[in-house]
């Protein structure tokens, strides 16, 4: 209905292969970007910026990283948080030990560190698949956290392993307000999402998906499995590493290794299952869902509790949250394995075919 496609024809392959081939989509995305970059910083209050939008973007980035590995390349990982931790602590060390290093360079280097760790823990993927591999990635989760906690040099010998992000600025502008942190996060996430979209529509993305869908056929047409899988681990870990760096530097400010525990890994896995496996959009939708659900529950439950007279404590709400997450995972796996992104797509198809049925 909203999609009036008639007359949008492509005369070159470049037009046909652009990320958003439909004019309406391009307009929509442009409007969204204007809204996110201009309107939100102008009107957003501190709480929304620093407690909701910034973490949402960071989680979306981490989910995107996991999605590259799991959704596109088909390698399940339970160690996402570990790669984030590498990013966070590597950034800390780069800033600490390389005087005057620009923060963006530190982020990129931290991402590369995470990528290297990712490659190391991706090595077993050459011999093992499926949940064997998933279990193997748990090793990364435990080993990395252990290493950060035990190797004092990494945390600059802080007693409890806690680090505090140093002050930093970009082009002389100190990044110390919720707005500036939000805009920085948004910029990085936008660029990385764009790069991910580009990867997905080019040779690398197709190689990932080929390995995911049928590895024997992939190797028969000449896709080297080892290189492809390791590349997936590297790129995925890079994204997670940058997400971890942002987690420390634009969201929390002060982090301990335990912040990157297995629970966080699971949360990010949930984001992609609910949001949509193998979809860049899905990473954002899933992150939004997981970030917003507790907030919605906290808004909704107390009035219900008052109205019904049943006392619902905060602990119960957090348990309810766990149950809802778990239940939703099962629900989505059964009903819509491609998550919210697929629902979105179906809705879009309906609008494109309107008034005819889908």
């Amino acid at each position: 209905m909203l999609y009036r496609e008639a007359g949008q024809f492509r005369a070159t392959y470049a037009e046909d292969q652009q990320i958003f081939p439909l004019r309406q989509d391009r307009i929509g995305v442009a409007a969204l970007l204007v809204f996110a970059f201009v309107v939100i910083p102008l009107v957003g209050d501190q709480y929304w910026l620093s407690a909701i939008l910034t973490p949402f973007l960071i989680f979306a980035l981490a989910a995107l990283g996991l999605n590259i590995l799991t959704g596109y390349a088909g390698q399940l990982s339970l160690g996402t948080a570990a790669f984030m931790a590498v990013g966070a602590f590597a950034t800390y060390n780069f800033v600490l030990r390389v005087p005057g290093i620009p923060i963006l360079v530190a982020f990129v280097l931290a991402g590369i560190c995470a990528a290297l760790v990712g490659i190391a823990f991706g090595l077993p993927s050459l011999r093992i698949k499926g949940f064997y591999l998933a279990v193997a990635t748990l090793a990364a989760q435990f080993f990395v956290l252990w290493a950060i906690q035990r190797i004092g040099w990494i945390t600059n010998y802080s007693a409890s392993g806690v680090i505090t992000a140093q002050n930093y600025s970009i082009l002389g502008i100190p990044i110390d307000t919720p707005v500036s942190k939000y805009v920085l996060t948004l910029s990085i996430v936008t660029v990385l999402a764009l790069l991910a979209k580009n990867l997905a529509r080019s040779e690398t993305g197709r190689a990932f998906m080929a390995v995911r869908d049928m590895d024997v056929a992939a190797s028969v047409i000449g896709i080297p499995l080892m290189r492809t899988k390791l590349l997936a681990f590297a790129i995925s870990s890079f994204y997670c590493g940058v997400a971890g760096a942002l987690y420390a530097y634009t969201y929390l400010g002060t982090v301990e290794p335990e912040a990157f525990n297995l629970d966080l890994s699971f949360r990010i896995l949930f984001m992609i299952i609910i949001g949509g496996v193998g979809s860049v959009l899905g990473s954002f939708l899933g992150a939004a869902f997981i970030v917003l659900l507790p907030i919605v529950l906290n808004y909704v439950v107390p009035p219900v509790s008052e109205a019904t007279g049943i006392e619902i404590s905060h602990a119960i709400i957090s348990n309810l949250e766990l149950m809802i997450f778990g239940g939703l995972i099962i629900f989505f796996l059964i009903v819509e394995p491609h998550g919210l992104a697929r629902l979105w797509q179906i809705g879009k198809e309906k609008l494109r075919l309107w008034p005819f049925p889908h």
């Binding site: 008639a6 007359g7 949008q8 024809f9 492509r10 005369a11 037009e15 046909d16 309107w354 005819f356």
Partner: protein, 649 residues
């Protein structure tokens, strides 16, 4: 300057100079719309012309074009004209034998074909057409191992042209300069509902003046987009996708294949569109079928807003006063239904749309206008270079074809036949002075053979072919095409053939639309084994009877036509087919032929029998023939007394 632009090659050179880098033609191929600019086309036409000259094509000779709408066939057309040779497009779906007459009559020496399928046909009849010495093909697929000396690829022709052009600098320009407005521009063979087809000789002046007048009237610019999807051999295709293309300098788009026309139409979304009624009918059938599968609420919404559109859509399009509430409703409908519908039909950008080639049912016509598409009727024929009457914007009446187009004189004889004099009038029938003399009066009027009259607003109303309009025994007017078109508005009815001239009542043979009725049957879990089986089902008879009776109710409301209600009908066991000569190649019903071929059925309709056995010969695609037989049921339909029916609101 305008005086010198009096041949197509000169027009082409003009565009190449004035708008060299504007897209002139596109073709969907290899997944995208490959684009040629005017400059590129002019250059390619030059090469092809040189190549054809090198291969011996000279002034006055004929070049046959056989294939779908492919840019290269258009280029070849312009190339031939540059040399003063005359392009003769053939119907690409004709079987080989049907091509023999034209190829011999026009003494065709060179032919440009689309692909292996067409090459095979020409090779098959080569012994019967000794003059045909050169056959070129566009798509080399499968033709590699063909060794016939007459065959060469289009690429080879280009190569020859490159060499020839290098050897003869200035040759092309000199040839173009030799052309004159009175030269023959093209020859189109009339589909020939009777006897052999006749070659209609049209000059540059005929085509260009006609095309230019109409383009001015409709305000066509060089920004129009047109989809070329109808047979090249049809004069309309020549006018809209070639003559006016060169006159206005817009862009013509060739679809990927006949199967993808709907998708391609939607992608291009032409601004200038034309379709014979059967295409519009097929589109409406698609819409109806797909809406039937929609959820109930959507069906309701569709039904409701289509009602609103019928009531006020046409008036809004004509700029007539409409109440605020209705305007608001129509606006809402446009948002929810009409706009999306235009979008899925690929007609969002249409500024001017014509329906031509045949009379259109008023309901079908109104449907498109009501959803906001500026559809107009156009009256004309091959002999008049199409344009005789055009409905001007804002003065659209579904049952007339509008006033005469600029520069056209129309008069109606005492016996009701329409005569025409216009700059577009053909010069002659090729090598057929007798037919020319029959068709053209000494003072230059062309006898159309159509019956009609001017209404009080000066709009021409066409009844039918003059020879087809008849009278029932009681003297009531019987216009079979009018009835048939009313029936064909229903998605379930594909073709209808009405009989009644000199009879006491009107009876009708009907072809169901296999897809629409098949869909209907599936939704009712009605199993059927094929077309003949489905057509014989009592349920289907019931469905068709409803359609017939609705038509009758309508007819009863019109005092002049009330007596021509359909009393009896039957559903044919086979689809009427051009290969069996029941339809013309432009898919017009050949009523007389059908009356003869199915004589027993006609007799059974009027003798009151309940069923009738019939055996008919059919011809398959590959040229084999066979016969099929069936016992057809004949049913009565309810008719309405003229007084009992209320006038439609």
């Amino acid at each position: 300057m305008a005086e010198t632009l009096d041949t197509f090659p000169r027009l082409l050179m003009h565009h190449a100079k004035v708008r060299p880098d504007r897209p002139a033609m596109r073709e969907k191929a290899l997944g995208i719309w490959q684009t040629w600019t005017w400059r590129e086309i002019a250059e390619e036409v030059r090469l092809v012309a040189c190549g054809l000259a090198a291969e011996g094509l000279t002034r006055g000779q004929h070049l046959a074009l056989v294939g779908e709408n492919r840019p290269r066939l258009y280029f070849a057309m312009a190339a031939a004209q540059s040399l003063g040779a005359i392009p003769v497009p053939l119907y690409q779906d004709a079987v080989a034998q049907e091509m023999v007459y034209v190829l011999r009559d026009a003494e065709v020496t060179h032919a440009i074909t689309e692909d292996q399928e067409q090459v095979d046909k020409l090779l098959e009849i080569l012994p019967e057409c000794p003059k045909l010495a050169h056959i070129y093909y566009d798509d080399p697929r499968g033709l590699r191992s063909y060794a016939q000396p007459q065959l060469a690829s289009y690429e080879r022709l280009l190569e020859r042209g490159r060499d020839y052009g290098a050897e003869h600098p200035g040759f092309f320009e000199a040839e173009v300069a030799k052309g004159a407005a009175e030269d023959t521009a093209a020859m189109h063979y009339t589909s020939g509902t009777t006897a052999h087809p006749k070659g209609v000789v049209l000059t540059y002046r005929n085509l260009i003046e006609c095309g230019r007048n109409a383009a001015q009237m409709e305000g066509l610019t060089d920004r129009e987009d047109v989809l070329a999807y109808l047979p090249l051999a049809w004069i309309g295709q020549n006018i809209f996708s070639y003559t006016q293309w060169l006159v206005a300098g817009f862009c013509v788009n060739c679809p990927e294949s006949p199967e993808t026309v709907m998708t391609d139409l939607r992608e291009i979304a032409p601004t200038y569109y034309f379709a014979p009624p059967r295409v519009l009918e097929a589109l409406l059938t698609q819409v109806t079928i797909r809406m039937e599968d929609a959820a109930r609420i959507k069906r309701w919404m569709y039904g409701y807003f289509m009602g609103v559109a019928r009531r006020v859509g046409g008036r809004i399009l004509d700029g007539k006063p409409v109440g605020v509430a209705d305007r608001l409703l129509y606006w809402l409908g446009d948002l929810l239904v009409y706009g999306p519908l235009r979008n899925v039909l690929g007609m969002s950008r249409v500024r001017v749309a014509y329906t031509a080639g045949e009379a259109i049912g008023p309901d079908l016509f109104t449907f498109y206008r009501s959803i906001g598409i500026n559809m107009k009727q156009l009256y004309g024929s091959t002999e008049t270079s199409v344009f005789v009457c055009i409905q001007p914007n804002g003065q659209i009446k579904p049952d007339t074809v509008g006033p005469p187009a600029p520069g056209v004189e129309v008069k109606v004889t005492d016996v009701g036949e329409i005569l025409i004099r216009s700059p577009g009038l053909f010069r002659e029938y090729y090598k057929n002075p007798q037919a020319t003399a029959e068709a053209k009066t000494p003072d230059g009027w062309f006898r159309t053979g159509d019956a009609g009259y001017f209404d009080q607003d000066g709009h021409l109303k066409i009844l039918d072919r003059a020879k087809d309009v008849g009278k029932l025994v009681d003297g009531t007017l019987f216009a079979p095409k009018y009835l048939e078109n009313k029936l064909k508005f229903f998605p379930y009815v594909k073709e209808a053939v009405a009989f009644g001239d000199g009879r006491a009542m009107v009876c009708c043979m009907i072809n169901i639309d296999f897809e629409a009725v098949g869909n209907w049957a599936e939704r009712r879990n009605l199993a059927y084994s094929g077309y003949a089986d489905l057509a014989s089902r009592p349920e289907v008879y019931g469905l068709v009877r409803d359609c017939v009776e609705k038509v009758n109710a309508d007819l009863a409301a019109d005092p002049k036509l009330a007596n021509s209600q359909i009393h009896r009908f039957l559903i044919l066991h086979k689809e009427l087919d051009a290969d069996d000569e029941e339809l013309t190649r432009t898919r017009k019903v050949r009523r007389g032929f059908i009356g003869d071929k199915f004589g027993v059925l006609v007799e059974a309709l009027y003798s009151g029998r309940k069923e009738q056995f019939i055996e008919t010969k059919v011809r398959f695609e590959d040229g084999r023939t066979g016969s099929i037989s069936a016992t057809l049921r004949i049913e009565d339909a309810k008719t309405f007394a003229p007084a009992a029916a209320k006038r439609a609101a």
